[in-house]
Symmetry: C2
Subunit: 273 residues, 2 copies
Amino acid sequence: MSFEPSEVITSVHNPGIKQARSLLRRKGRSEERAFLVEGTRALTDMMASGAAPSLVYARDTPDDRALVDDMAPPCSVRYVSPEVFAGLSDVPHPQGIVAVVPMSEVTAEPRFDIWRDDLILVADGVRDPGNLGTLLRSAAGTGVTEVLVTPNSVDPYNPKCVRSAMGAHFLVSLRQMTMAPLMEYLSGLDAIIVADANGADSYDSAPWNRSCAIIVGSEAFGPNPALVDLATAYVRIPLARNLESLNAGVAGSHLVLEAARQRRLAASLQEPA
Amino acid sequence: MSFEPSEVITSVHNPGIKQARSLLRRKGRSEERAFLVEGTRALTDMMASGAAPSLVYARDTPDDRALVDDMAPPCSVRYVSPEVFAGLSDVPHPQGIVAVVPMSEVTAEPRFDIWRDDLILVADGVRDPGNLGTLLRSAAGTGVTEVLVTPNSVDPYNPKCVRSAMGAHFLVSLRQMTMAPLMEYLSGLDAIIVADANGADSYDSAPWNRSCAIIVGSEAFGPNPALVDLATAYVRIPLARNLESLNAGVAGSHLVLEAARQRRLAASLQEPA
């Protein structure tokens, strides 16, 4: 179904616009099981990952119409006045295109078939949307089985998080999980690896080749003490120059990349000569 | 020298304010050899790294005066009207404190004394200030000898870059270098390692234990072909799920962290038993 270009929405009271605007807030996203993907770059990334937008809103200007024609989204496009569009965007100078995308359930499985054991990434109180997006991107790229996000973390469907994940929401299984089911889940794994500046051992000595979870804690407060108590390995990334910490997105990414490196190495050693 | 609290600057034509405002632009920073550090978090990080602000501008409100009293910056503080302060900030809702900080020359040396050989990080066309800041932070934390930035990269003294580097500007040697001296410099190293999605070998097989440079290219266009031609190793980070790339800050950080890991390992193997 498509709409005629002449039907330009000019009222913020339009029901579709009201619904789309509700997706700018965590509560609305959670109720509608949908989120917004804004701008051509993020939308291209997202569609390349297999996402199907349900609807695109575009600003009614010649430039933005040309943008939409170039992109040819596989869904209805509704044009809106610049004033209405401004209310759909979370950036000061929007590009003029935003898609409503249903949250999808990605199956929890590593995509490196050489891996027999689960690698779970837990974002436990990560507050910066850019950091969480980066972690999701890195998890997708390292064959992480799934990413679990605790409720005190930023919403992974936050627009900034969606931008920095560059489509990873549709590549890796992502679940928001409260502490009780999370602790139950973790108890089924061989190893629970907690990363912290005060960790006892260097990260590369952790048991990455067994089924394991890596816990990345809050930027300001570190990992949840309840999860530190569960840890079977408590690791740090050794740093020079008395630096206390790295960016949380970088640190967590480095750990899953190290897990992937060790697993590739183990798999290559097991290959018949 | 200190100023009386009563002397509140209310004019944007004040010479100090004009000079400080010039530091919001690359040209001004380059001419004055100084930059702005805004907000208590960034300023605390920066001072912890050994930076000495030459002057602090603070908004003349009770809250901001309390903020300054808590922080007690080791330099003059000048209070300005909220209108004047807004012109000194690069964020929409500023915290009310910004410092003028002279660019410092940090000596080029690794801070892990177990390292005999240089590790140079080259940011070659990195355009996102958050990515460059992250790279600087990771370089500081991994004993990188120095960071070289090509002119087509974002200015490392850009306020967003300063925020995400969290004080690294004062921990690691940082030089902006044009292509000719850069190529001359690189020719003196044992290895030139270029990271690229199309790289031939996995990054962990590169000769990290020799004196080497790691080249991290532009987010959109990859590394400069002239530097790819110079490369003695052309490496990729193997990725799952057909992912093309990671965030450039994450990828470059992962490589210097891997170099640090390999160098620590080599040093521990050389220790007498």
